[in-house]
């Protein structure tokens, strides 16, 4: 043995790698079906609900378009163009993030890179993997869109026999389009590792923020309603948007192809499909070639970046983190300050919060440019209510993804926590204080901005701010309480903790709580829609709002109590 010259040479192994990935997917699905059928069923029910909700929404939009044929002729291609532009940008960034982790961050890639596989096989595998991981949601979003569109057009254009052809073409366009942003994202990931090895995540977060913010500012400016006639505005608007309809833009190939398909113009549609497929294949080949050829340097710099990224911690941060929680007794203050420091030093956490609330802030600060006149109509209450809905669901996203895993992450330190001179359940108070501080600061600041920008009545401003704080209380109570009741102490991956049984339970409970509170506030808003600016809400509306505030606070307290009771006697 060990004749170094007789060892089998490496051979193209992409098929083998894909088989392994398929096998892991099969094992994962089988395990979920056998060990957690309730969770799997809940996921299927939720996905189906989202799917039917989207279908219903798209159907309303297309039916609305059909009522005004002239506008529909202009609007539908535009809607599709913008839809695919947005998809192009979002998929490019999500592919970049996933591809970066797959190529430069995972132990699997290190393992494969020491195996006798060609670099091109490994890069191709990672490219395909990130493509699937980043794009499955587009398929989920796309299918109801496709069916709604076909259903809306059925009576006028497509016969029942023609619909299967349309569905086939629609799916083919989606599949052909996905590799284009995928290739772009893979190149972005490589460039980030090659040129920004130390601050890759910060670079990605800032780049994504700049692109999204730029798009929103440009979009809002283009929508700004001036004094000119509608026709002049429409011409100006279409002129500004003409860039996206350029023959060189992939979104235009797909939008035009689908538009032709819906009008049963199959030769034109197939032409655009061919163009899309050809470009997708070329973009994929180019991305894999470039990354394979220059991978070594990027991988080397990314590894070096990870190794030298261990900078000394800022002592000032420790002081600030401690002083924020001045109201807590010393042991709890230390735990809360530790969580705050971890939060600040983890860009993945704060960047998502900054992006989501940054977008809200951008939208709110641009509200005046729309020059809508809300006073004197029910809209002066409806728009702030919609803002409250957006803030609430963003808060639920944050608490489910980042607050919920906090207790589980203490699992490995439970020996230390258990030795602290206080009941173990008090640790939950520190977690709760940390979560409340972050969420209340950000959410109340956003809602205050909203009330100022919309010049909301003081009474309604107070109602919205109190409801926001109550939602923060309820959501943080749920995340910490359920996190302590259904922890995953042996797991260190926060995403897996958030996706586990406890995480799913917390997600469902949070959505239910937010929905209940918003239904209450929505009822009060609806009751007061006829009121003019400056009029106080009636006592029934105030009582409804008070009830949902109490409900949210009590729900949070109950969750915390249940969590603390379990946490006090838990054994790891």
């Amino acid at each position: 043995m060990v004749d170094s010259h007789a060892i089998a040479p490496a051979y193209p192994a992409l098929g083998l790698l894909l088989r392994v990935k398929t096998r892991t997917l099969w094992n994962r699905t089988r395990q979920a079906a056998l060990e957690a059928p309730v969770r799997l069923s809940a996921a299927i029910v939720l996905v189906s609900a989202i799917w039917f909700g989207l279908y219903w929404l798209f159907r309303i939009v297309f039916d609305q378009f059909k009522r005004t044929p002239l506008e529909a002729t202009i609007a539908i291609p535009l809607v599709f163009n913008f839809f695919f532009v947005a998809i192009l940008v979002m998929l490019a960034f999500s592919n970049a993030i996933i591809a970066y982790g797959a190529l430069f961050g995972k132990t699997e890639s290190a393992y494969l890179l020491t195996s006798p596989l060609t670099l091109r096989d490994v890069i191709t595998l990672k490219y395909l993997e990130s493509l699937v991981m980043a794009s499955w949601s587009l398929i989920l979003l796309g299918l109801p869109l496709m069916i709604a569109m076909a259903d809306a057009a059925e009576r006028s254009v497509l016969s029942a026999a023609q619909r299967p052809v349309f569905y086939g073409l629609f799916i083919a366009f989606f599949l052909a389009f996905i590799p284009i942003p995928g290739a772009l994202g893979t190149l972005l990931a490589w460039a980030a590792a090659r040129f920004f090895p130390r601050r890759t995540i910060q670079f990605a977060a800032v780049a994504m923020g700049v692109v999204i913010a730029g798009s929103i500012i440009a979009g809002v400016r283009s929508l700004r309603l001036g004094d000119s006639a509608a026709e002049v505005w429409l011409r100006s608007f279409l002129g500004q948007m003409s860039f996206f309809e350029s023959a060189f833009m992939p979104n235009n190939w797909v939008a035009s192809g689908i538009d032709h398909a819906i009008h049963n113009q199959l030769p034109e549609s197939f032409l655009y499909l061919g163009v899309t497929i050809a470009n997708a294949l070329f973009a994929s080949w180019l991305a894999v070639m470039i990354v394979s050829k220059y991978f070594d340097r990027a991988h080397d710099r990314a590894s070096a970046g990870h190794a030298r990224g261990k900078r000394p911690a800022s002592p000032a941060l420790g002081g600030v983190a401690g002083s924020v929680f001045f109201y807590l007794p010393p042991p709890l203050r230390l735990i809360a300050a530790k969580d705050l420091r971890t939060f600040i030093r983890d860009p993945l956490q704060w960047s998502q919060l900054v992006i989501l609330f940054g977008l809200m802030g951008l939208y709110l600060t641009n509200m005046p440019t729309l020059r809508f006149s809300f006073s004197g109509s029910g809209w002066f209450l409806i728009i702030p209510f919609l803002n409250l809905c957006a803030v609430s669901f963003i808060l639920a996203t944050f608490t489910c993804r980042f607050v919920f895993p906090l207790v589980s992450l203490e699992g490995r330190n439970l020996w230390l926590v258990g030795l602290l001179p206080m009941p173990r359940g008090h640790v939950l108070l520190a977690k709760f204080a940390f979560a409340m501080t972050v969420t209340v600061l950000v959410a109340v600041a956003t809602m205050t901005l909203a009330t100022i920008m919309l010049e909301l009545d003081t009474a309604w401003a107070v109602i919205h701010l109190v409801v926001t704080m109550a939602i923060c209380f309820g959501l943080c109570g749920f995340a910490v309480g359920i996190g302590a009741r259904l922890p995953m102490f042996h797991q260190t991956n926060t995403a897996r903790i958030a996706n586990g049984l406890g995480g799913t339970t917390n997600l469902l409970a949070s959505v239910a709580l937010v929905s209940a509170v918003l239904i209450g506030v929505g009822m009060a808003t609806w009751r007061c829609r006829g009121l003019t600016v400056g009029t106080l809400p009636d006592s029934t509306s105030l009582m409804i709002c008070g009830t949902v505030v109490v409900l949210s606070v009590v729900a949070g307290l109950v969750a915390l109590w249940i969590g603390a009771r379990h946490f006090n006697r838990v054994e790891v």
């Binding site: 043995m1 060990v2 004749d3 170094s4 060892i7 089998a8 040479p9 490496a10 051979y11 192994a13 083998l16 392994v20 096998r23 892991t24 997917l25 094992n27 994962r28 395990q31 132990t107 699997e108 290190a110 393992y111 890179l113 020491t114 195996s115 006798p116 596989l117 060609t118 070594d296 340097r297 991988h299 080397d300 590894s303 070096a304 190794a307 030298r308």
Partner: protein
């Protein structure tokens, strides 16, 4: 020096992370058929050196050869001769141990009959048969380590590079692994082992290298190291003496 006579050659290798020099002008050669123990304090540059050997990092200066193949320019040929077991072993969590071993066998072009024959022996020696059909996510660190070692030895590599091989293993498994390493070198294979377990290094290694602050401060047989330290001490005392020089 004929590079193909040696399993591993590092010639004037330097690796920097920004301004930090992780490995400085490292020259080291490991002949075929030897078990080389690579020692050093935490942060001395052991893992960086290993990553340079297996091609996960590129040297800023110098060259690395494995079985006569330059890792930078002929990495694929070099990797075909290697097996690498990192300190945190990788396994696909949603594969069973057996599925993972079959995957490795196929990756190295080993046919089913030869694979089964090799596996039968390794499974028995490393005592992994009991849990081989469970998903690897349920394995303890020691179980993972044993399966990864099985995978590493499956294709009978010319060079086995291993980072902290005994962590998480019980005494019986440690004995088995030590015997496997010795058998591997007896058959002409080479083992390059980084470890903090000095008594194991002392017991099984043919040569020992000590790295400190990125520089190779000593290399040779245990007797040569004793001579260098000018004392008839254990490896532990020699190691402490040599690595305390710079610390003053």
């Amino acid at each position: 020096m004929n590079t193909s006579d040696y399993a591993i050659i590092l010639s004037g290798v330097t690796k920097c992370y920004g301004r930090t020099v992780a490995v400085r002008d490292l020259s080291l050669s490991v002949p075929r058929g030897q078990l080389f123990a690579f020692l050093g304090p935490n942060g001395a540059g052991k893992t960086t050196t290993i990553k340079l050997i297996v091609g996960l990092l590129r040297p800023g200066a110098g060259q690395v050869h494995v079985c006569g193949c330059e890792v930078g320019s002929n990495g694929l040929a070099a990797k075909a001769q290697l097996a690498y077991v990192p300190d945190q072993p990788f396994l696909y969590e949603k594969l069973t141990g057996r599925e993972f071993l079959y995957f490795v066998a196929e990756m190295y072009g080993i046919g089913a009959a030869r694979r089964d024959r090799l596996l039968e022996s390794l499974i028995r020696r490393l005592d992994v048969g009991e849990f081989l059909d469970q998903l690897t996510e349920s394995y303890s660190h020691g179980m993972k380590q044993r399966v990864v070692l099985t995978a590493a030895l499956l294709h009978e590599p010319a060079v086995l590079v291993i980072d902290e091989p005994m962590v998480g293993l019980d005494p019986r498994a440690i004995r088995v692994v030590k015997n496997l390493f010795v058998e591997h070198t007896n058959r002409g294979g080479t083992v390059f082992m980084s470890t903090h377990t000095l008594d194991i290094a002392e017991a099984v290694s043919d040569r020992i290298g000590i790295i400190h602050h990125g520089e190779l401060i000593a290399a040779g047989t245990l007797d040569e190291l004793r001579a260098e330290a000018r004392r008839q001490h254990s490896l532990e005392e020699i190691f402490l003496e040599l690595t305390e020089v710079d610390d003053g």
